[in-house]
Symmetry: C2
Subunit: 577 residues, 2 copies
């Protein structure tokens, strides 16, 4: 039985199951969500209005035994950036949807009644029910009340209070294998789900086959083995990420002077040791948490963890470098326990932890609280949770907060907060921030791999030479990888191990009985970027939006006194492909 498109119209509360159009059959994950959004959403529409659509799709390899292939993509017009948005996340949903033969779930229209709904997706279709009792409930309580935490065949996508209020930084939470939370984090997709008045979507795969049919089982098995081996053999994928999580980066990025500190005033944080991956790992070990943990079945890297408090009680997981950096170095808070608590609150509220944490630094810039005030930060998060006027400002993200308080040092591109690498001292990532169709987004073309970690060679992070090409190649490869359902971190192995990319392509071919080449896969990546850019251009984003805030040009950053020195023409060269 071929895969289907499930289409939910919240306008008349109807559901259709559709054949997959020929043009979409070779697509999955980001390629599919971006293609559908570009095809069906008017670029100038209001992101919270009836013309926007929320599209959810597993990757091309999701549901198979391919290592790290359980990523789910979601797409829509972003209320934060005003452009197209794709987020991807671990959790159980992608693998369940793939097993159920659901190529994509498209949610369109706005309900006539001002009330919330819950969707239940089964192999037979989607049931839409009014949901009154669980409105206002945080994501953790929701999982508990729905009693789905440990149900293996039950996936859950949900929004917290931030999404219900259509806050620009609201995310969509995805239940993970342990009943905890992963996030379709950036760009406010939770607000889009909230605008459609959907509190949660249960995915019930009880009736679905356990395994996905593969066109060539043996070939797939061989390729998957090679691919997994490449991951396990790589020092980043197979070792560092498991040992210290993504937070392994704090000390590394600090060392090279690229750790934005005190709202991007310096590139090194004197308290970096206190928030580092090494410190985190040590605390977790000592307290009896879990250092290694996977966000979805089949993950061999295990970069997540279970962070516990002094008494050994669960606090958070998926406690990422980005979040720790933003509340730590960016806000000058050096207490991991406070950061973990904040991380958990953000998951519960359902708000992007990068956008929210960067916004906290902007709030400090505005003088709402002092830099370094950890308790103050927790209080501000309580305001976000409660939806007070101040909480609503902060929940609208760094850009809006900067406007409301009349600030100029506001680290955003296309209104999305700049992540954890200073673009002046890690110039490749600056090109990615500028040019990504997603707004400032390190994952869109993670030049840090080559600028700092020396994967796939080395491009000096302080020099302009080679950065545009590096970012371009990585953004193309990333768009392809994001379409497979593979975790982006496989890219480290792909960059360094020559067996990895062919194995990835072989898996795709064996899954579908096709014969793609590596060039075909890269062509897919290029096509995805061009589709996304065309949408953005029609939505009103121009090269003027492919720019960093001017303070990166005007202020040097220690210790290298680095400056953002790319001309407009040099940046715009990115799109010449």
């Amino acid at each position: 039985m071929s895969d289907k498109i499930f289409r939910v119209n919240m306008g008349d509360l109807s559901v259709k199951i559709e054949e997959v159009p020929a043009a979409w059959q070779g697509l999955g994950g980001r390629a599919l969500t971006s293609t559908i959004v570009a095809a069906e959403v008017p670029p100038t529409c209001h992101p919270l209005g009836k013309h926007n659509k929320l599209v959810v799709a597993p990757g091309l390899l999701s549901g198979t035994r391919a290592a790290n292939s359980g990523r789910l993509s979601a797409g829509a017009k972003s209320p934060l950036t005003g452009g197209i948005k794709e987020c991807n996340s671990g959790g159980t949903a992608a693998q369940l949807l793939a097993r159920m033969g659901i190529k994509a779930l498209i949610i369109e229209g706005l309900p006539a009644e001002a009330q919330f709904y819950a969707l239940t997706v089964t192999t037979d279709g989607v049931v839409i029910k009014p949901e009154n009792d669980l409105v206002g409930v945080g994501n953790f309580d929701l999982i508990e009340k729905l009693q789905v935490a440990d149900k293996k065949d039950s996936g859950l996508l949900s929004i917290g209070p931030a999404g219900e209020r259509c806050q620009l930084s609201a995310n969509i939470s995805v239940k993970d294998p342990d009943g905890k939370i992963r996030s379709l984090g950036r760009g406010g997709l939770g607000a889009v789900m909230g605008s459609k008045r959907i509190k949660y979507i249960t995915i019930d795969a009880a009736d679905a086959p356990r395994k996905i049919a593969l066109a060539d089982e043996d070939k797939f098995k061989g390729a998957a083995k090679t691919f997994a081996r490449a991951l396990l053999d790589h020092p980043v994928c197979g070792s560092a990420l498991g040992a210290y999580g993504t937070n392994v980066l704090v000390n590394i990025v600090n060392e090279v002077g690229g750790l934005p500190t005190k709202n991007f005033r310096t590139g090194q944080y004197d308290q970096h040791d206190m928030i580092s991956g090494e410190k985190m790992s040590e605390l977790i070990e000592a307290r009896g948490g879990k250092v290694k943990h996977g966000c979805h079945a089949g993950c061999v890297m295990q970069c997540s963890q279970v962070y516990v408090d002094k008494e050994g009680n669960y606090v958070t997981s998926g406690f990422e470098y980005e979040t720790i950096w933003a509340m730590g170095a960016h806000c000058l808070i050096d207490d991991l326990d406070i950061l973990a608590q904040a991380d958990s609150i953000m998951d519960d509220i359902g708000i992007d932890s990068i956008e929210m944490a960067v916004t906290m630094g902007v709030a400090m810039e505005a003088g709402i609280i002092e830099f370094g005030d950890g308790q103050g930060l927790l209080k501000l998060l309580q305001e976000v949770k409660d939806g007070t006027p101040l909480g609503l400002i902060l929940g609208s993200g760094a850009g809006v907060t900067g406007k409301v308080y009349g600030l100029t040092r506001v680290p955003v591109v296309k209104n999305q907060a700049i992540p954890a690498y200073d673009p002046r001292s890690v110039k490749g990532i600056g090109i990615t921030y500028c040019t990504s169709t997603m707004g400032a987004d390190h994952t869109a073309g993670y030049s840090v791999a080559t600028n700092i970690l020396k994967c796939g060679g080395f491009v000096d992070p302080l020099q302009k030479e080679g950065q545009v090409e590096l970012s371009r190649n990585l953004q193309i490869a990333t768009a392809a990888i994001d379409s497979t359902g593979l975790c982006l971190f496989v890219a480290f192995a792909v960059l360094d191990d020559e067996t990895a990319l062919p194995a990835m392509v072989d898996m795709l071919n064996a899954r579908y009985g096709i014969s793609l080449t590596i060039d075909d896969v890269m062509a897919l990546g290029k096509a995805v970027l061009k589709t996304e850019r065309a949408f953005n251009q029609a939505a009103g984003l121009t090269s003027a939006h492919d720019r960093l805030p001017e303070f990166f040009v005007d202020e040097k950053i220690p210790p290298h006194d680095a400056i953002w020195d790319f001309s407009d023409e040099e940046i715009d060269e990115f799109w010449n492909f």
Copy 2:
């Protein structure tokens, strides 16, 4: 002695007096501010950063005896729209600056110290002094404390608390002949002045000649007489505006179903009689206020008034249709005394009364207060004055308020609030809202003149035919008129009385000893629009921003069940000239 450019650099607190470059000599008012901004401000700069400049210029005829020629232009990159901005205002400043031979005052840079300053402009230059005592003071108190209310040779530009906080809707207040306030209202120019930490600018013309030298006194006198006659003879300029103020429009626009009511849900307000110009005039008469009042010396229309309370105490002046509509019909508040009180508070805070009042309707849409809650509106204004988080949201304008509260029915174009004529039932003004370089702005091309008042012919407001051409012609003419220092309301006479336009051109020629034709003046208007648009395009505004919010397309408005039915191509046709 030829006119000079006074240039103030707040970065090093220096002042330069410069010759006027040849290319700028024929320019004044909007033509000059827009040309300078386009030439000197990088389009992608942060509007509140050091690269933006605030430019103030009297019109080409300001300071002469030409009727209604005392308008002052101010320009900058707008923090509200992200595009170029020109505002103009009555008051005494334009005529004083013109007498002083100051072609333009350019204020650039940001001070190094985090404190406020006051500027004093004399014929000799500009003195910059730290100003600590008057920070936080409202505009009315400021005028009183500076003891400039009745000083004829002393002009004042100032910001209130909103400008000090760099709020996106902050305006710049201009002292009028009675020591009251006129406003450089829209687009947040007060925030630009606030970003440069200038609390106020005193203009001291004591040493300036009483009269401006004219190239041809006799010719000027004749032309000025013809021009004044044309104004006085016109039913709108010479009669209606004086009798009822701009608020004469409430009943007229309501009658044709174009009065946006309850945040643009209907085109008629059942309580229109309670807030009409007729009612206002009756109240003012009965209470002993002034029905007629001019915002600058030499005004023959006298559309302003002195609105007094039941005890006969001064409440406000320059109490305009737009403000009354927005708090009245838009917010469903039918009590003129509350609206007058609110108008006065807005002047004191220094915030654009259109943006702020439209935002109040958006606040009602968000459920912050109920539609119709006049006391609630006054309380919200108090929050704006106090700079509470809620006040800061509202002070950021309708667009930001809509984002923070996750709304879709937010009447803005280019993030600037839509004024008092529904674009569905007055389609010409809709084209102006879409295409104006200024964001939604009725004054940019006041099609209402022809759509409703039947000046310059009649173009049926409910039909698409002819609206693009009408708006284009009016926007071109307006850009020219805004460069002369003439009040835009002269346009009614210009449209209907064939002696008016030649007289206007004759005055320009007699003033400067040149020989412009009517075509030359219209060419100036075209050039201004193209300069402004080029700036906007470089700043990242595209045709995607020349659009109305989608609810105007999706929702019909009673009583005509009119809809916004222009295609993108039809709108974009505007720029074909």
